[in-house]
Symmetry: C2
Subunit: 376 residues, 2 copies
């Protein structure tokens, strides 16, 4: 066995150091405070659960991607959470089953998976989110999308793009106005993913009827016009979805870019009629995601829900976060009462332990001269 430096961390797991760790905490606070101001109440699920409870609520998670261990108490398999939304759904369906609806819950914490994917090498991520349980209406979607935007803006994020999708649109069309043979559906999905018009048309004449959806992708207003034209051709079969998207987009400010990709499905394995991804200028890959879904109640019935999750790590690593604090060096035998007063005014103080210490080397901008902070 080769010797590995004792400070080395496993791939995809990392330390966050000053000042980025503080920026991360600051960003999480701003998001959570915004969400709380809209009435979302905090829940804190445990970091591990029984594997079967967790996996049954995670449609897209494979057991081998989870960090698992045998519980010495129950002899059952435990798994670390790879996602918190499923845990919040479990809480809503069990311990908070009798709480009045709509139920607004928020959460924040680390999530971990054993295997990363090529797109995202990190195996631990920080997740922050809000779930509105008891409704998947357009009004619920309007609230969720706008709270997500407001939370990111409160954290200083600019250049936000929201990409809307209709995760179950193809299923709905295939079961209704644009019938497809069951064996054709996956091929149609794949070519819509690839935006390959030629290959889509080549599947079958029935599949070719889905061509307008490729054109219904792009900047929101132009894409909506093409989706509306398709709807007209279908005799208004997707009227409610069109109206829903229009209503959700309406209150969103001019400073947010809106796009539409009605057949986007990656990352929307459990969403139904509505989904959205959040992007920010300068960051490849989404920084958040949300939409409508169903929670499985204890009796097996379904309850509608709407929510979003943010994965702010890329933002933090890019330096989003509060301004640097003012650091004040306190020499030996300083005025302790004055130092306490200055801390209450927002100073961070660094007290000397020995006569030799140099406040500037400890990155202080000022030192306490009697009762006054003096710049170095």
């Amino acid at each position: 066995m080769t010797t590995i430096p004792s400070g080395l961390l496993p791939e995809g797991l990392s330390d966050r150091l000053p000042p980025l760790a503080e920026a991360s905490a600051w960003l999480a606070r701003r998001v959570l405070d915004t969400v709380a101001s809209h009435g979302y109440e905090r829940v804190m699920p445990p970091i591990a659960e029984f594997e079967d409870t967790l996996v049954s609520r995670l449609k897209s998670m494979k057991a081998q991607d989870l960090v698992r261990a045998i519980d010495p108490v129950s002899q059952r398999s435990l798994a670390l959470r790879p996602d918190m939304t499923a845990q919040v759904g479990r809480i809503a369906a069990t311990r908070l089953a009798a709480a009045p609806r709509p139920l607004r819950l928020s959460y924040a914490g680390p999530v971990i998976r054993l295997r990363a994917n090529q797109l995202r090498p990190e195996r631990e991520r920080f997740q922050i989110g809000a779930e509105l349980i008891g409704s998947d209406s357009v009004a619920a979607a309007v609230e969720i999308v706008n709270v997500a935007i407001e939370a990111l803006q409160a954290a200083g994020v600019t250049g936000i793009t929201i990409d809307f999708t209709l995760p179950d649109l193809i299923d709905a069309l295939a079961a209704g106005p644009l019938p497809l043979a069951p064996e054709e559906i996956e091929a149609v999905r794949a070519e819509l993913d690839a935006k390959d018009a030629g290959a889509l048309a080549a599947i079958s004449p029935a599949a070719a009827a889905y061509l307008p959806l490729i054109e219904g992708t792009g900047p929101f207003h132009a894409a909506m016009e093409r989706l509306e034209a398709l709807n007209a051709d279908l005799g208004g079969a997707i009227d409610s979805r069109i109206a829903g998207l229009r209503a959700i987009a309406k209150p969103i400010g001019w400073d947010i870019s809106l796009t539409l990709d009605p057949t986007e499905r990656h990352g929307f394995e459990y969403q139904n009629w509505f989904g959205f991804s959040i992007f920010a200028e300068g960051f490849t890959g989404e920084i958040g995601r949300g939409g409508s879904y169903a929670i499985i109640r204890a009796d097996g019935s379904e309850e509608p829900a709407m929510g979003f999750s943010l994965y702010p790590d890329p933002l933090i690593d890019a330096g989003f976060g509060g301004e640097a604090p003012r650091r004040l060096f306190l020499p030996l035998h300083h005025d302790a009462a004055r130092a306490a007063q200055l801390r209450a005014e927002g100073w961070q103080t660094v007290a000397a332990l020995t006569p030799q210490e140099n406040g500037e080397a400890l990155r202080c901008s000022h030192w306490l001269d009697g009762t006054e902070p003096r710049p170095y």
Copy 2:
């Protein structure tokens, strides 16, 4: 296999629900803000590491107590952190090895172990702490003890007791003024733990010389007098420890109870000359702990350090935390600009999604009538 309700959690793992989850977040913020105001900068280590890196820095941790998994990338064993202090030590010794000393770092997050112990059935705990790296002097101890007290008081904790200990005192006495045969040391420790004077005296005449340490336990000032009498009998052999304890105790306010148990060792496996436990009125078991220790540098040498960790879960479960927010119901078609203004003033708003909703049932104390909040 019996059917287990899908909402059930493994023993020792639990959900924290409103309003306790919010109280938990509030308490953590107050502690972290206090610690930051004294110049401690945040670090965020990952939730999992290579098992050997983690265990080598955790003297008292058995591998079977850890949640472990084989890393599919490196084929090495990963372990979830059961403690964050060791991770902060690793960071100080590696990535921050060149940062100026004293280095002040803070941290907060979940820690988990696979096996709980009888005293503490919970397997996941929240840990918050601060470490001062580069000194284990009396001045460092004064700072750490007082920052810990200030942080708890900022979070509203009253009735605080600090119990001081001298973790390596017996080793120091046995190697010097009160020699013991190597095979006697463990027996002397055990009888001192049990405070059993008869059994201690029965070990040997050498062991009987440790009897005054049993009397040197209890309320700080009385216990110190007995420890000082022993020190006088030993010709001042523990002068520096006596002076250290006196200096640490001196600035602590009258509202804090101080006790001394000079031979207490449980939970102080890696501390050396100084340790302390924190208790609060009405809570059985300690809510925090700290002391002096050594960090192993990359070259194998040792660096002195001083720190504390809090485990605030019992406080939170008892309801410590901020006051309940004011919740304001927003009927359909409310004045959105006014609602935003009220949120900025500290209201939490709950927006109606349908005409049927009842704000009182959603636990709102007020509703927005035009531009004015009205009580229900």
